[in-house]
Amino acid sequence: MSRPLRSFIKPQFIALALILLLNWILFPGFFNLFFRDGRLYGSLIDVLNRGAPVAILAIGMTAVIATRGIDLSVGAVMAIAGAVAATMVGDGHPLFLVIMAALAAGLVCGLWNGSLVALLGLQPIIATLILMVAGRGIAQTITEGFIVTFNDPGLIFMGSGSILGLPTPIIIMVTLAALATAAFRLTALGLFVEAIGVNRSASTYAGLRSRALLIGVYTFAGFCAAISGIIAAADIRGADANNVGLWLELDAILAVVIGGTSLMGGRFSIPMSVVGALIIQAMNTGILVSGFPPEFNLLVKAALIIVILVVQSPLAGRIWYFIAPSRKRPPPSSPAETPATSTEGTLK
């Protein structure tokens, strides 16, 4: 098999295709697209549009997990950013200022997390748990406990507008994924982040600014969470501090894991994390259009996730290695070398 072809046949793409196929079987109109009022509509668009917030979270989360960290606070940061945007736009501030302030709130949250991890040496799961718990309280303080609604067309555009016929969140997601991938892969940042994740001590000895890099990735995760928070608030035209982004940090982590980045740090792929987020959303959308009773939602989701993760596991990779004919590969002694988790393609 030629290299580009092989790198395309990743279990993630197979999983996505299978879930979309399943959706189509359950709901024959799944792939229907139609154009109205200058915008594309259809279930596929819904998957992309609704998957965007988690995908954007996953972009930031990927960098954090690659450093062998984790960020549990992104859901709460979404709430903070949404609260800032909604209250400021309600106070009549210009849109540009509103967006900047919301993004700044996310950056500050990320900086806080990064400082706890890099400077105080707290374990990431504990460090970010602090803001996960406190963040929603901060957001509620900003909104004074109300769902702050707004009607500013500019801000609403971030959630339900469209550009070139596609909903704004999709455009933002694709742009951010492309920019982030470029920023990591066209510079040496990606290599540095992977190096820290693989061995922080050795990376420091090799002259990397481990602390600054760690603070950087958490700040980036906070920035992504703020974008997500703005989209989520814009989508419902209100900042719902209690509910926005609730448990989405777990979806984002799951998306990264499905995308093949190991929680043990090291190799990462932002595009594959986005694919992971879309897999999760394809499941959610499928459940919605299928008409199953809601009692089955979590069961169906859990079962599908188990299947996806098992298919991607190192063991399955090794079995695949033995079954698949004429694959010239080094001995499958390590999970890193199995096709399931190899991300070499994205490095090139």
């Binding site: 066209l186 510079t187 040496a188 940042l189 290599l191 540095f192 992977e194 190096a195 693989v198 061995n199 001590s201 050795a202 990376s203 420091t204 000895y205 090799a206 002259g207 990397l208 600014r209 090291g266 190799r267 080094p330 002694s333 390590s334 890193a336 070398e337 070499e344 090139k348």
Partner: protein, 503 residues
């Protein structure tokens, strides 16, 4: 001549294919303090673990009071009479002194622990050690020294024939060491056989009756301390004949260039006593010293991993500060650390990335090395250093230890360093790779690079150093230059009697 209380002979032990003990033996007499000596990896711990039942031996016999024994585990060995106290006291810090003494064998009354009797017994037991503590208090309210005596009391009370002490003095101050030695003398008078493991030669001469020396998994010999000169002992430990002055010298004839870096009064409390160090261009400075003499601590200071409490650094006449390795690298320093796996290689990354990382780090993230530049770099060093790999895209964790070491070396050479610090560059490396690395070290300095090599292989140090620093007790205790460099001279310096001090 009394019979040995414990006698181990022809002990073999392998882990996988790695033979760590080869035909080793030791005899312990009742009423003697027996030092067990050797450098890192000599096999001391393995032998101890076999005697105390933590490991089983592959071959050989252990006789206790003349009868063959096969300790199943440490508890079994304790019951038979062999007790151990480790450096990190293995007691329960949050339980009382009395509970620690009797845990697992508490006196019972009506099926319940009889606390009063336990504390009474504990007081009686500790009084024999002249230790006056409240046995009802939590253990960790007392100093490490007290905890250690409690551990010894427990071990002796349970076992009573052989007491093994693994580096008992490592974290004690001078006074506490004296108290401990007083206790050991008393136990010795009671007829106990005591094994004493330490890196402090002075203490060996102070307390031990005999010493058994291991090196590379073999017994070099057992000698009475009374007729074992320090020189001989160090020679036994390091494995060199004193007469060996004709070792191959490559570094001796080199003329060092101008002063490159100068460390003045560099010091870090508890790690390194204040030292001065001048490094010249094209110079190879060897650093010798026993384990624990402060070799690695010195390297960490020089590379900015640890920050000194005091001291100044000038590089080419300009004052500089090292806050982190990055600062050192910016000055042209490089450092191949002792523990490759922990501090050196980036296991999951490829050979190419491992080689490029330091250069890339110095260039900064905004100026990435192109894929082609990285491949060229990696190809060049894989060829130059003969790194055995299936390809430069292989994760470096799959390479052998020697090849990993070469990758780390390549990483620094790629930065064109002006000063390279190598900590144990040949440890765990096969003979072929060994020779290559030495050859390379030499050729590097012809290009004006300054080298500081830390090694426990004295041959090696002698072979390429233009100057040798000898460390003792975390301080530079001497320096050898040019023709004066020989294994014998280094050994003599290491073994030197400490200067007499008024206490």
């Amino acid at each position: 001549m009394p019979e040995p209380v414990l006698s181990a002979a022809h002990i073999d032990k392998s882990f996988l294919d790695n033979k760590v003990l080869d035909d080793v033996g030791i005899d312990l007499m009742p009423g003697e303090i027996h030092a067990l000596l050797g450098e890192n990896g000599a096999g001391k711990s393995t032998l101890i673990k076999i005697l105390t039942g933590a490991y089983t031996h592959d071959a050989g016999t252990i006789l206790l009071d003349g009868k063959p024994v096969h300790p199943r585990d440490t508890k079994h060995a304790q019951e038979m009479g062999v007790g151990t106290v480790y450096q990190e006291v293995n007691l329960l810090p949050n339980m009382t002194v009395a509970e620690n003494l009797y845990i697992g064998r508490q006196p019972l009354k009506f099926g319940l622990v009889d606390n009063r009797k336990m504390e009474r017994d504990a007081r009686a037991l500790l009084s024999r050690y002249q230790l006056n503590v409240d046995v009802g208090s939590q253990l960790d309210t007392y100093s490490v020294a007290v905890q250690q005596i409690v551990a010894i009391a427990r071990a002796v009370d349970i076992s009573g024939k052989v007491l093994i002490l693994d580096e008992p003095t490592a974290s004690l101050d001078q006074h506490e060491v004296e108290v401990l030695f007083g206790i050991l003398q008393r136990l010795k008078a009671d007829g106990l056989a005591i094994v004493f493991i330490t890196h402090f030669l002075d203490q060996v001469y102070e307390i031990a009756d005999r010493a058994t020396v291991l090196r590379n998994g073999r017994r070099v010999g057992s000698r009475a301390m009374a007729d074992l000169p320090r020189m001989d002992l160090v020679t036994m430990m390091l494995g060199h004949a004193i007469a060996d002055t004709h070792a191959l010298r490559i570094g001796g004839g080199r003329q060092p260039g101008g002063l490159f870096a100068s460390f003045k009064d560099y010091a870090l409390a508890g790690k390194a006593a204040p030292f001065d160090l001048d490094l010249h261009e094209g110079e190879i400075v060897g650093v010798a010293g026993l384990l624990g003499s402060g070799r690695t601590e010195m390297a960490r200071l020089l590379f900015g991993i640890d920050r000194p409490d005091s001291g100044e650094l000038t590089v080419k006449g300009k004052p500089c500060k090292l806050r982190e390795p990055r600062d050192a690298i910016a000055l042209g320093f490089g450092f191949a650390p002792e523990d490759r796996k922990v501090d050196g290689i980036l296991g999951d990354l490829t050979v190419r990335e491992n080689i490029a990382i330091a250069l890339q780090a110095r260039q900064g993230w905004t100026r990435p090395l192109s894929q082609k530049a990285q491949v060229d770099l990696a190809d060049r060093f894989v060829r130059a250093l003969d790194i055995r790999t299936t390809g430069i895209e292989q994760p470096v964790k799959f390479l052998s230890g020697g090849n990993q070491q070469k990758v780390v070396l390549a990483r620094w050479l790629a930065t064109n360093p002006k000063l390279l610090i190598l900590d144990e560059p040949t440890r765990g490396i096969d003979v072929g790779a060994h020779a290559e690395i030495i050859r390379m070290i030499n050729s590097l300095c012809d290009q004006g690079m300054s080298l500081l090599v830390i090694s426990s292989e004295l041959d090696e140090i002698v072979a390429y150093s233009s100057r040798v620093l000898v460390l003792r007790d975390r301080a530079i205790s001497g320096e050898l230059r040019g023709a004066h460099i020989s294994v014998g001279a280094i050994v003599k310096m290491i073994a030197m009697q400490p200067e007499v001090q008024d206490a």
